[in-house]
């Protein structure tokens, strides 16, 4: 990593050097932010892995892994959706740099949840039952649809895909709102009676969507896009 200009020679020598220093500082901040995102993103995996290893997931570890990876998927989706409103609120534009890794972590946990925990551990790849689940049980259908929507978003998250798709990229990536909404319905339909946490998550989502609506309608009535 580039050293920040700590030498007295670099300070205030000329405008160009100052500007350079600022950009280095900025890059440093971005790197720090990204490191934070990676730490946050890997933390649940490390913790769940450790707990599974140490027999710390209770009597039904497969169910625990299934539920917790699902929880983290929703957490990362909501945190990803919080980036833009937060950026607008604080004016801290550097936040845009962590939107993609956060979104990819959401997809990573969604895949861990669906592919790893549901298909492999929970259903042990018994396709007969898996197809029945997906086809006949709305709560699973909806969760599966949410994951499916996230797949093309993850695949088109590279810089080159953004360039290639142009305006269509932004349109495609609005799919994240649909996926999150379906994920929340999946969560809500899953619980038996205690809807406290699903409602909390739905509330957070509602606030984040309202912030977008507000930004479009009130703050910048002419501006387009998200």
């Amino acid at each position: 990593m580039t050293q920040a200009p700590t030498s007295p020679l670099a300070l205030g020598v000329d405008a160009r050097a100052a500007k350079l220093g600022e950009s280095v500082l900025r890059r440093r901040r971005v790197a720090l932010l990204r490191a934070g995102v990676w730490a946050l993103g890997l933390w649940p995996t490390l913790r769940l892995g450790w707990l599974a290893w140490r027999d710390g997931l209770g009597a039904n570890p497969i169910e625990a892994l299934l539920h917790r990876t699902g929880d983290w998927t929703l957490v990362f989706l909501l945190v990803t959706l919080a980036v833009t409103p937060l950026r607008r609120l604080t004016g801290w534009n550097v936040l845009i740099q962590i939107r993609r890794p956060l979104g990819l972590f959401a997809f990573y946990y969604a895949s861990l949840h669906f592919l790893g925990m549901y298909l492999v551990l929970d259903q042990t790849l018994d396709w007969e039952f898996i197809w029945e689940d997906i086809a006949e049980r709305p709560f699973i259908t909806v969760g599966f649809a949410a994951w499916l929507i996230l797949v093309p978003l993850a695949l088109t998250s590279t810089r080159s895909a953004v360039r290639r798709l142009g305006r269509r990229w932004a349109l495609l990536h609005r799919g994240v709102y649909v996926a999150t909404a379906l994920g929340l319905v999946h969560f809500y339909w899953k619980v038996k009676a205690d809807t406290f946490w699903p409602l909390v998550a739905i509330g957070v989502f509602a606030v984040l969507m309202a912030a977008r609506w507000w930004a479009r309608r009130v703050a910048r009535p002419v501006a387009r896009g998200t």
Binding site: W53, A59, N60, P61, L121, D133, F139, A193, D194
Partner: protein, 350 residues
């Protein structure tokens, strides 16, 4: 099946495993454990060793985990007053169900519970029920019966009929356990109350006391919890009131001091911490059936053919096993109880 009181005690059937197998025929525990460990390792290869311990244990699903990482029975099993009128303590690691299933370890039976009175997560009851004091305890018996009454727990139970019974417990959420309950036939206390000819159902109520049951401070369900049985179901010899498990008093999180156990029905029928028993003519309005009528019925017989609207009931995960197993009609007790429902449309009366 006949319901002659005395003969049931002697019957090995599925009620309990005979304990009189000569010890010479029993493979020493360390031998079979080693054998299973070897077979498991040979089958799955080196990858097995990399799996977390619970999942490893799951792969050796048939092996009781006694002597492994988890104690099979409670350590130092001293049974409590009300539940152990001279019944000897067993070596629980050798006890199996009538289908030759090993018992679910004591630790799992007592830490993974659905008991919303103490919280809605599986780990909540064991945490929130520790300070619950299940004594003194009394039970109201009323409704359509000749001899209603108000009993102290010690007077209510029938000590002479207490015995250990190994039952499968199948939760409506598609997981299951094998539990050695200690209890007595519900029939005994029903007969004592002398229900009237008009009585067709018996309704049970759980204690309502938000001070002692913190889960009741939130209106997750319509408290108090109510369950019920048709009178013939209630009188069936498989239906028991449990006062203990693994040879000792019921832990608070398992429904102390007194709970119902109806092994061919989904677990939510087996109401915990019972304070009232009432005979009725009308079908009781039971808690889950009232809360979500299209998902939970009054009968709630374990039935792989009738799925829960949100998930399949064809298979279940036995706690401690990795792969789901097929669910048996009436949870494996069809031979004993299917006749109770002859002519009934079990899709309608789920």
């Amino acid at each position: 099946m006949e319901t002659d009181d005395a003969s049931n005690l002697e019957r090995p059937m599925l009620i309990r495993r005979p304990d009189d197998i000569p010890s010479s025929e029993i493979t020493p525990e360390h031998v079979y454990l080693n054998r299973r460990r070897f077979l498991g390792a040979a089958a799955a290869g080196a990858a097995l060793a990399a799996l977390p311990s619970r999942l490893r244990a799951g792969l050796r699903s048939a092996a009781p985990r006694a002597g492994h990482d988890r104690a099979h029975g409670p350590s130092g099993g001293v049974a409590g007053r009300a539940t152990a009128p001279g019944l000897p303590q067993k070596d629980w690691s050798k006890v199996r169900s009538e289908l030759d299933e090993p018992l679910t370890p004591y630790e799992d039976v007592t830490t993974y519970n659905n008991y919303y009175e103490f919280g809605t997560l599986k780990g909540d009851p064991v945490r929130h029920a520790q300070d619950f004091e299940p004594r003194p305890w009394s039970i109201q018996v009323d409704g359509l019966c000749a001899k209603p009454g108000h009993y102290d727990l010690e007077d209510f139970i029938v000590p002479s009929r207490i015995e250990d019974r190994v039952y499968r417990l199948r939760c409506v959420e598609a997981w299951s356990m094998v539990v050695p309950w200690r209890g007595f036939p519900l029939k005994d206390v029903i007969d004592r109350a002398e229900p009237l000819g008009s009585a067709r159902f018996v309704e049970f109520t759980t204690l309502y006391d938000p001070e002692r049951m913190p889960g009741q401070r939130r209106a997750v369900l319509d408290w108090p919890y109510v369950e019920g049985l048709r009178l013939d179901e209630a009188r069936h010899p498989l239906t028991i009131l449990a006062t203990g498990l693994y040879g000792r008093d019921l832990p608070n999180q398992n429904g102390a001091p007194l709970r119902l156990v109806v092994p061919w029905k989904y677990g939510f029928k087996s109401i915990k911490a019972i304070v009232r028993m009432r005979f009725t003519e009308e079908m009781p309005a039971t808690t889950w059936a009232m809360a979500i009528p299209n998902e939970y019925g009054f009968f709630a017989n374990v039935n792989p053919e009738v799925d829960h609207p949100r998930w399949s009931q064809k298979r279940e995960r036995r706690i401690g096993e990795l792969r789901r197993r097929r669910t048996l009609p009436f949870n494996g007790y069809a031979e004993q109880v299917a006749s109770l429902y002859a002519g009934m449309d079990l899709r309608r009366w789920f």
